[in-house]
């Protein structure tokens, strides 16, 4: 059983892809009853028709073998419904009336057109809070504009400081960082709204711009302009005030190690590990911070030579033992054997249908006395339709009628795809 910190809180997840669903998932990790309502018969973006780069080989429907669907949907119950149909809309209304938080991630305005805008929802379920999380928020001139995380990353200034000096801007990869930051804000927003309800008795509307939810992490970059009048540029792995501070190619092809010494003590450890204790002795030009700042290229060359002769993990181990900031640039295959993650039991065996038992990534936090657990693996499409509808008071005949009317579903195939044309 997972943590019960949020026992009794019911969350409806109407969002797609990553940012919204993973926020709901984190609430589920803390014990909220999260009900994911997936689109039917239209497939969500993480339930593709055809095998593609995200789909694992093997038996079973393509749309149940997608990595991006499975990551971010644990600890939920899964429904699939067409809430634009009469029967589906009624089921969603009854679901919302039973819930505390609704999370939706459509482009601004879409949920209103579907008949579930805030005014409607608030009248229907006054205690329910609603989090709408379009790329740039609900209000404002960009309302209705569409983006993935990479567009948001560009507009808040992060793209302008990623990359490396002298490298072409065209080659700075798109970053989908807001998929990771928005879920965290969803959790905070949901609980802030619940806390306010304790006093007001009413739910709140949260206009969660994914741009604003991430932008505040760019404190240092914004400060460069606001406080010092410089437009910050991409620095690669350099830090203007720390030498050494970099990433060095290791002996293992394709692997790298990061190394930094922020203090004289760390520098002394590094000098010793490299067999040059004299570099940290009084009188040596590199013994002082000012001296090192003036010798970045020479020191980098020494570290590059050191790393080039070593395994990336062993180099970091050796330097850490000397009190130096150092870490391998971990690929998944580097992380898996990490004695730290192994000792902490971070990797979690999960029996996921069509995959068998695999070691999944662990949780974002550990907790006593009731830590997060995979109480429910990522659900199959519509897996809990009947269970949830029964709880809402639907009889077996009524559930069958919803199925017959294609208001709910538990699979996609050519027949359900054909419904889209009608």
């Amino acid at each position: 059983m997972t943590s019960r910190a949020l026992a009794g809180v019911r969350v409806i997840d109407l969002a797609e892809v990553w940012a919204g669903p993973f926020g709901a998932c984190l609430l589920g990790d803390m014990g909220a009853d999260v009900i994911k309502v997936e689109s039917f018969p239209r497939r969500s973006l993480t339930r593709p028709l055809q095998p593609d780069a995200r789909v694992a080989d093997g038996p079973g429907p393509v749309y149940e073998r997608v990595d991006s669907q499975i990551q971010g949907n644990r600890n939920k119950r899964h429904m699939a419904m067409d809430f634009r149909s009469e029967g589906g809309a009624e089921a969603l209304r009854r679901l919302l009336a039973s819930a505390d938080v609704l999370i939706e991630g459509f482009a601004a305005g879409a949920i209103d057109r579907a008949g579930f805008g805030w005014e409607t929802v608030h009248a229907l379920a006054p205690r329910l809070s609603m989090i709408s999380m379009p790329a740039w928020g609900v209000r404002g001139p960009y309302s209705g504009y569409v983006a993935l995380g990479s567009g948001i990353d560009a507009s808040v200034g992060h793209v302008s400081v990623r990359g490396a000096p002298g490298e072409p801007a065209e080659d700075v990869p798109g970053g989908f960082h807001t998929d990771a930051t928005s879920p965290i804000e969803v959790v905070f927003a949901a609980l802030a709204a619940l806390r306010r309800r304790e006093r007001t008795g009413e739910g709140s509307f949260v206009d969660l711009s994914q741009a604003e939810g991430f932008a505040w992490a760019l404190v240092g970059s914004l400060g460069e302009w606001q406080l010092a009048g410089r437009v910050p540029q991409p620095l690669g792995n350099r830090d203007p005030h720390v030498v050494p501070h970099g990433c060095y190619r290791a002996a293992v092809p394709g692997h790298w190690v990061t190394i930094a010494a922020e203090t004289d003590a760390q520098w002394a450890g590094l000098a010793g590990a490299l067999g040059h204790a004299e570099w940290a002795e009084d009188g040596h030009p590199w013994a002082s911070i000012a001296g090192r700042l003036g010798a970045r290229e020479e020191i980098d060359a020494e570290l590059a030579a050191y790393a080039a002769a070593r395994d990336h993990v062993e180099a970091a181990d050796e330097l850490q033992a000397a009190g130096v900031i150092a870490a391998p640039v971990a690929a998944p295959s580097t992380m898996l054997p990490s004695p730290q993650l192994q000792t902490r039991g971070w990797f979690t065996p999960v029996d996921q249908p069509y995959f068998g038992t695999r070691l999944f990534p662990g949780f974002l936090w550990q907790m006593e006395p009731d830590g997060p657990e995979y109480e429910r693996r990522s659900g199959l499409i519509g897996e809990h339709n009947a269970e949830v509808l029964t709880e809402l008071g639907y009889g077996a005949d009524e559930i069958r009628a919803l199925e017959a009317a294609h208001a709910i579903g538990d699979h996609y195939d050519a027949e359900t795809d054909a419904l889209l044309g009608t």
């Binding site: 910190a5 569409v146 990479s150 990359g163 490396a164 970053g175 802030a192 662990g362 949780f363």
Partner: protein, 393 residues
């Protein structure tokens, strides 16, 4: 309307960027946050940039942005006397955030009353136990462990790169804030005090964008590859006054893009109408897209394309983000009158909820020593004794 966290009391200890970021979320939404920091000032006060490039404990960007509205006491919790003060501070508090060296973490956690004390959230790079618990990391090296840096480079064989400075670290702080809200809610409702251990590496590697899941399910270890020409347009493209970021490769997106550049016929063009052919004709496609972009500014590309619901956005720099029309209309940035610096523009609320969020000035180091110690019942003589011994500063 009262702020949502009014009446809540939160203590932060350690003075790091992550712990300050975690507690900021509470402070700006109305909680009373007491910042317990060493007299020499911690990381959040010492990290540049500073106003006019003059280093000062009260004028750094991180402090001015992340310590908003807090009260500050300079207190050395490495001493028993300091921990005794902290213990009194914790009485009646709902949450304690801390980031300290491992052995001190355990000592500080021990002052929390096991029954009635606040729930705790301890932040560290690798977690409180395990063979790496004592490792010293920074923003870059912690990030390196998370598989994200591995996937962030200019070319497939190129040097893996950091994100913006302290972006990963602040994400760790935000994660701690989120779980902190969860355990505070839990304690208020079930009476269970919870102790949370947030490892920065786990908080980042466990998030939804982890590269590890591809490895588990698909057996692939992807790296970034710079400009992609197999499927397009995705990534940075030059236009008249800078760059725009596209994510318009998929079927309907590509179709809308072709319509937006007034070449709807390209959708059915055999060079672009199926994936393999399309992957071989990027240069051909640029003969249409390139000239269209060349005569338009970022803003023109953005608005014209978004009328067709094409996923594209302007690449803005830090001098431009505050002038963005959306940011201005929404109040995405706010000005805070900071006593030593004057008005400073910082990022606004991470989400908007009616009358919920306000950034107030950041405290000078130790600004509230006397007020806090008075309220805890320390006499003038006791306060002098603590100061004389260097426990307060």
């Amino acid at each position: 309307m009262e702020q949502p966290l009014a009446g809540m009391r939160v203590i932060e200890v350690g003075g790091t960027i992550a712990v300050a970021a975690a507690a900021k979320q509470f402070s700006d939404f109305g909680a009373e946050v007491v910042k317990v920091e060493v007299a020499s000032g911690g990381e959040v006060r010492r990290t540049p940039p500073f106003a006019d490039d003059r280093p000062h404990l009260d004028t750094g960007a991180y402090h001015l942005s992340l310590d908003t509205g807090k009260r500050s006491i300079a207190l050395d919790v490495a001493t028993p006397s300091g921990r005794e003060v902290l213990g009194r501070l914790c009485v009646g508090a709902q949450l304690l955030f801390l980031q300290l060296p491992p052995e001190l973490t355990q000592r500080v956690l021990a002052v929390v009353d096991a029954e009635s004390g606040p729930s705790t959230v301890a932040i560290s790079p690798h977690g409180l136990d395990g063979p790496y618990a004592g490792r010293v990391e920074n923003d870059m090296s912690m990030f390196a462990w998370t598989t994200r840096m591995y996937r962030h480079s200019i070319s497939e064989d190129g040097e893996p790169l950091r994100y913006g400075p302290n972006v990963p670290t602040i994400q760790v702080g935000a994660t701690a804030a989120a779980v902190g809200m969860g355990v505070a809610w839990g304690q208020a409702h079930d009476g269970t005090r919870r102790d949370v251990d947030v490892s920065g590496v786990e908080a980042l590697a466990g998030n939804v964008d982890t590269g590890y899941i591809d490895w588990v399910l698909l057996g692939t270890e992807r790296r970034a590859r710079g400009r992609l020409t197999e499927n397009y347009p995705i990534g940075n493209y030059a236009c008249k006054d800078g760059y725009v970021m596209f994510a318009a490769t998929l079927g309907p997106q590509f179709q809308r893009l072709c319509t937006a550049i007034e070449h709807p016929e390209l959708v059915d063009d055999p060079r672009f109408n199926e994936p393999i052919a399309k992957s071989q004709h990027w240069a051909d496609f640029m003969e249409y897209l390139g000239p269209w972009l060349e005569v338009r500014t970022r803003s023109e590309v953005f608005h014209e394309m978004q009328q067709h619901r094409v996923m594209v956005a302007p690449v803005l720099d830090m001098s431009e983000v505050t002038e963005d029309p959306q940011a201005k209309a929404r109040g995405s940035f706010v000005q805070v009158a900071q006593p030593l610096v004057g008005p400073v523009t910082i990022h606004g609320a991470p989400f908007q909820m009616e009358e919920a969020w306000e950034a107030r000035p950041s405290p000078r180091l130790g600004e509230h020593n006397a007020a806090i110690l008075d309220a805890l019942g320390y006499s003038r003589d006791e306060q002098i004794a603590l100061f004389r011994a260097g426990v307060t500063g």
